[in-house]
């Protein structure tokens, strides 16, 4: 699929400094048409700066951005075929919901009946029909989020940029919006570039993830590739949890959920014995903390087993689930 897909955004050798800090450091990135790409990284890793450079709010010090084959590096935001959903939503407080959504169409001088129809349709798309004459202050966080989404999508941009749009929502709403966003993206078929520092969010929603660290992309790949085969220590620690175990003189990395804990049963070609130090019940699974015989501390995340603290247990896993890095 990747071979045949068209490249929408092409970033080459992009750099941007703020004072002495190199926020973005020689980044290359190709984004395919219609994909959901997440820029994932801790705060200050440069992901938001890359997004703002694509939108045109920041100028690059070096490098180029091509949008649909056209070099837009030096163009102002209003001449780029992208729209942004802001972290604080940035809804115009003096306009009602409908006027907010119509703003981009009004700028483009789209005539009234079409403008109204498209705005209503966008409102319906985010399931807010009937909220058109409310002011943003009268909406909840989740509703504002949807208005911001509708305001951007109504312009039918070739790329939608989302800057941590779910950051201000509570967990339940956040999980619901993750699913809705993904569905919406499939429905409209627009390329989404999504910035987040939440690795779970990135894994849930993305077609591909670019992991940022200190202004550079550490790894780019599908959620599975990133999770199961991290290419650097940073990625393995930032995305998911990792056990670093000294095993037969070699340092290996393995995810907690690939390690089984049992009194007698082995499942996998690697085994290690130890004492169960603690078992923390966290709903769907339990976190087992085991002091292994070789002095290492190992974490396993598995469904609840009939074990008690102090039991001697066998840890086992498949060697193919290990990764280097």
């Amino acid at each position: 699929m990747r071979e045949s897909a068209e490249i929408t955004v092409s970033i080459r050798n992009l750099s941007r400094s703020f004072g002495a800090i190199k926020a973005v450091n020689h980044v290359d990135l190709d984004i395919y048409s219609g994909e959901f790409l997440t820029l994932l990284g801790p705060s200050g890793s440069g992901k938001t700066t890359v997004l703002r450079i694509i939108a045109g709010f920041e100028k690059p010090d070096e490098g180029t951005i091509h949008l649909g084959g056209k070099d837009v590096s030096q163009l102002p935001p209003y001449e780029r075929d992208v729209n942004t959903v802001f972290q604080d939503y940035a809804l115009f407080p003096h306009m009602n919901v409908l006027s907010n959504i119509e703003y981009g169409l009004r700028v483009q001088r789209i005539e009234k009946t079409e403008r109204k129809a498209r705005a209503e349709q966008a409102l319906e798309q985010v399931r807010l029909s009937g909220y058109g004459d409310r002011k943003p202050a009268q909406l909840s966080g989740g509703q504002r989020q949807r208005v911001a989404l509708a305001r951007a999508l109504v312009n039918r941009p070739s790329v939608l940029l989302l800057d941590e749009p779910l950051g201000a929502l509570d967990l339940k709403l956040r999980e619901q919006m993750q699913i809705e966003l993904k569905e919406l993206q499939r429905e409209v078929g627009i390329t989404f570039i999504f910035v987040t520092h939440d690795q779970e969010e990135a894994l849930t929603m993305s077609d591909r993830i670019a992991v940022f660290n200190q202004g550079r992309i550490e790894q780019i790949g599908t959620p599975r590739e990133i999770y199961e085969n991290p290419q650097s220590a940073f990625v393995s620690e930032f995305v998911g949890q990792t056990n670093k175990i000294l095993f037969e003189g070699k340092r290996i990395n393995i995810r907690p959920e690939f390690i089984s804990v049992s009194k007698s049963k082995e499942s996998g070609d690697r085994t290690l014995t130890g004492l169960l130090k603690d078992a923390i019940f966290v709903g769907a699974s339990t976190r087992f903390l085991v002091d292994a015989e070789n002095g290492e501390q190992v974490i396993s995340v598995k469904p609840l087993e009939d074990l008690s603290i102090g039991d001697s247990v066998i840890l086992s896993w498949e060697s193919k689930k290990e990764f280097l890095a």
């Binding site: 939108a55 045109g56 709010f57 102002p76 935001p77 209003y78 992208v82 729209n83 942004t84 802001f86 972290q87 604080d88 940035a90 809804l91 115009f92 407080p93 003096h94 703003y103 981009g104 700028v107 483009q108 305001r151 951007a152 312009n155």
Partner: protein, 289 residues
């Protein structure tokens, strides 16, 4: 003593209304006696008359002063002139203050921001008279600073008169316009400006559709200063106004010879200000101030 305080405190604690009354007593008295009292005295005096021979004020109720004021075209002219000057000053201050405040709030680096605010405030530390006399020496025809500097370029000082008053008052009240607009722009999130550009709007469109409506309450706050302060001013007109008179000058002149008439004239700016506030209230700007 401590025990008395304690028991008083607990007595007050149970009576929120008494507490509120005690808190508001001083400002309330000030408002009623010093402020409304003076205004009331002004209004009442406006209906008094004087003994033409002795010049003594005679209490009573007569609409004669108002009749004189309305029928004499000279006073009508002064009124419209004063109104025109106050409006021009407000307009000039807004036009200068908006870009300045925008630069201070959105363009300048945080460190220079504080410095710029201090700079805007500095003229307020100097006496009003000093500043107006400074303008007098600037505007003086032929020998003034403006003519001396700019006459080789063919630009001449407007001399003393209406334009000089407008320049002087605009200079005096500019900080009162800049500061509220600066505060309003500082509260305006940058993301709104980004969002407008992102949705395709050029800078001027963003200014008209996003910035201006959102700083309108600040603009109104600033205009209340520039407009009302100009409306009541008479010293500037005296020093750089040439022969031109404003309402304040008429009040000042009549103060010693015909106090009731001075009071009658003084009701004009009060009425205009009341009308202005009523208009502003109708726009809803006061609600979000």
């Amino acid at each position: 003593m401590g025990r008395v305080n304690n028991s008083l405190a607990s007595w007050m604690h149970k009576r929120p209304k008494v507490r509120l009354l005690a808190l508001l007593a001083a400002p309330g008295l000030w408002l009623v006696i010093a402020y409304l009292g003076a205004l009331g005295a002004l209004l009442i005096t406006a209906f008094f008359t004087i003994n033409n021979f002795t010049g003594d004020t005679i209490p009573g109720f007569s609409l004669g002063n108002f009749h004189d004021m309305v029928t004499d075209p000279a006073y009508r002219n002064v009124m419209f002139r004063t109104l025109g000057i106050a409006l021009s000053v407000t307009l000039i201050c807004s036009v200068i203050a908006i870009p300045m405040a925008f630069f201070m709030a959105k363009v300048a680096k945080p460190r220079s921001q504080k410095f710029l605010v201090a700079l805007v405030l500095t003229p307020l530390w100097a006496s009003y008279l000093v500043k107006i006399y400074a303008w007098r020496s600037m505007l003086e025809p032929k020998t003034g600073v403006i003519d001396w500097l700019l006459s080789p370029l063919g630009i001449h000082s407007p001399g003393f008169g209406g334009p000089a008053i407008i320049i002087g008052l605009s200079y005096l009240w500019l900080p009162y316009m800049i500061l509220p607009i600066y505060a309003g722009l500082e509260r305006l999130p940058n993301s709104l400006l980004d969002a407008s550009g992102d949705l395709g709007a050029h800078n001027f469109y963003t200014f008209r559709k996003v910035i201006l409506p959102l700083i309108f309450p600040s603009l109104v706050a600033g205009s209340m200063f520039t407009f009302s302060l100009s409306l009541g001013d008479y010293i500037t007109a005296q020093i750089i106004g040439g022969k031109l008179q404003m309402l304040g000058n008429v009040v000042y002149q009549n103060f010693s010879i015909n106090l009731p008439f001075a009071a009658t004239i003084a009701t004009i700016p009060v009425t205009i200000m009341a009308l202005y506030l009523w208009l502003v209230r109708r726009t809803g700007a006061l609600a979000s101030l």
